[in-house]
């Protein structure tokens, strides 16, 4: 009994700042303004602007997860061919550590300064006859946001996927070569199948990363809420309509549900990965 006292502070803290907030979202999504049970909040998720925000968010996250996984995967393989502990590897991994986490406001400013209406690439491209400044493409979820999100997805992919690529043993390649296999054979029959579960797993992680991101879009977009985190943010900062107090919680619950599905798939894949790469 005395031993349990030692973990009391930890569980008290995480209950107050993690478990209770989660329960507030889950329970609140099923309550109306006067705390009576209702399904109205969940039904409200079908409202056109909320439904389209969900769709935008899912598409944006899926597309940037695939782009990030492909380019980040290539980068991880390229870096893994460099000497272990060498300067290139150390530089790239710490650079990616920052770029993957530090998105947000800085990233929004960086893209405005580059391809915004006064950005240096925009001005430069105008000289050779390409006009980027004419439209609001940078602020749209199916154009500019994809570019901006990919910028933090590629570094994250490197961090998540590099250990898997490093798990490829040189002996496997030599074995394939000594049996007369070409580079294509090696990738098709050895490295590909071994890396596939971690590659897809990393892609799922990238999906949840983009799906959860709020700061970058919030700093970039000043009008409208085309993606679901901005919709939720809107319910916190603006006046709420009577009877719709808890729609933000229902949207939050919807996000958690989607993330939970993706993370479950990830856990299943992770179990398969450990079988081969022996981590």
């Amino acid at each position: 009994m005395g031993a349990l006292l030692g973990v009391l502070p930890f569980f008290a803290y995480t209950t107050a700042f993690l478990v209770v907030p989660t329960l507030i979202v889950v329970i609140g999504a099923g309550l109306d303004g006067s705390n009576r049970p209702t399904l109205g909040n969940l039904a409200a998720l079908a409202q056109p602007q909320i439904a389209s925000a969900f769709v935008h968010s899912v598409i944006l996250s899926a597309v940037t997860a695939v782009l990030g996984a492909v380019f980040g995967g290539l980068l991880a393989y390229a870096v893994s061919t460099a000497r272990e502990g060498g300067p290139l590897r150390r530089m790239i991994t710490s650079l990616c550590g920052v770029l993957a986490q530090f998105g947000g406001v800085t990233l929004a400013f960086a893209f405005m300064a580059t391809v915004g209406s006064e950005g240096f690439l925009t001005l430069w491209l105008r000289k050779i006859g390409v006009n980027l400044a004419g439209s609001t493409w940078l602020y749209e979820p199916d154009k500019g946001l994809i570019l901006v999100y990919t910028y933090f997805q590629i570094p994250l992919m490197l961090i998540v996927f590099l250990p898997a690529v490093e798990g490829l043993r040189p002996q496997w390649r030599e074995a394939a070569e000594s049996l007369g296999g070409s580079t294509w054979h090696y990738w098709r029959h050895v490295a590909g199948p071994i890396l596939a579960p971690s590659f897809i797993g990393a892609m799922l992680l990238l999906f949840t990363n983009a799906f959860s991101a709020y700061a970058t879009a919030a700093a970039l977009i000043s009008q409208g809420s085309p993606i679901i985190p901005l919709q939720i943010g809107g319910t916190l900062s603006s006046e709420v309509i009577l009877g719709q107090e808890n729609i933000g919680k229902a949207m939050a619950l919807g996000m958690v549900a989607i993330v939970a599905v993706v993370m479950t798939l990830y856990a299943v894949l992770e179990r398969r990965t450990t079988r081969w790469l022996g981590r």
């Binding site: 993690l18 989660t22 947000g104 406001v105 580059t114 709020y214 700061a215 916190l236 993330v259």
Partner: protein, 272 residues
């Protein structure tokens, strides 16, 4: 052998092309920030924005919001790291020593924030923070309570790796049999042995807190990122310079961390 030499050459070319192209993609927006913050009004280059940013008297007088944000973030970094260490290191050690059955539960709780987006946490935290404001006041510093939750998964992993590398049980029993109390075991035996893990957990927390925007912005509190975002409406050049400076600071923190980690790894001989 010939085959391997040819492959190595191809790999080198592949590496240079891929790393070169992607680094160009990473560099362009950063270059954009440098270019934007050094523009002179009539064309040409000036460092005026950067001298303003590092002139504390001017910042103090003309840009009080930036000063408030920097101070708030500095306080948040210290408080977050302090709460994280004081709570996690003893709990994780204690669980290993006395309550091994609870290890899975503690791990589950610590990794839980990975599946809960910060924006969702904000929705649930709003009522909790109404209580925090009621008892402790409206200070931005109390955001640290939420930030500890955000850093929990990363800190847990770093500390867990550190504690796994030492024999906690034997060390603690040896110290106890020599008459050390629990505080002495924690402070003089465990902590010095997991120094590296404590450092990487702290560095990760610093980087995360310096970049946090979501919670502070939606609760209308001050921190560095919120201040930079507000400043953008008034002086976008200075805001961009401040954002770039914060990014470079975080890069230095994480780069330093890569050396801390390397120091520990060098004890093991490489496999190949």
């Amino acid at each position: 052998m010939k085959l391997q030499a040819a492959r190595r050459r191809r790999q080198t070319v592949f590496r240079r092309v891929v790393v070169g192209l992607l680094c160009l993609f990473f560099a362009l927006p950063l270059l954009g920030m440098v270019e934007f913050t050094t523009r002179a009004p009539g064309g040409g280059r000036t460092l005026a924005t950067w001298t303003t940013l590092f002139d504390f008297n001017v910042i103090d007088a003309d840009y009080p919001e930036l000063k408030t944000g920097v101070l708030a973030s500095a306080g948040l970094v210290l408080l977050t790291v302090a709460i994280m260490l004081v709570m996690l290191v003893p709990t994780m050690t204690w669980v290993r020593l006395r309550l091994p059955g609870l290890r899975r539960t503690v791990e589950f709780v610590c990794l839980l924030p990975l599946t809960i987006p910060a924006i969702v946490l904000v929705v649930g935290l709003a009522p909790v923070y109404a209580w925090v404001a009621y008892f402790l006041g409206e200070s931005s510093l109390w955001l640290a309570f939420a930030y500890v939750v955000l850093v929990l998964p990363y800190a847990y992993r770093a500390l867990d790796a550190g504690l796994s590398a030492i024999d906690v049980k034997t060390l603690a029993e040896a110290a106890r049999s020599l008459g050390a109390g629990w505080p002495a075991v924690m402070w003089r035996i465990i902590l010095p042995n997991v120094r590296t893990a404590v450092l990487s957990a702290s560095f990760l927390s610093v980087a995360l807190v310096l970049g946090e925007f979501t919670i502070a912005n939606l609760f209308s509190r001050d921190n560095l990122q919120v201040a930079i975002n507000q400043l953008n409406k008034r002086d976008s050049s200075l805001a961009t310079a401040a954002a770039l400076a914060a990014l470079i600071l975080a890069f230095i923190v994480l780069f330093a961390m890569s050396f801390v980690g390397a120091g520990r790894r060098s004890h093991h001989p490489e496999e190949n």
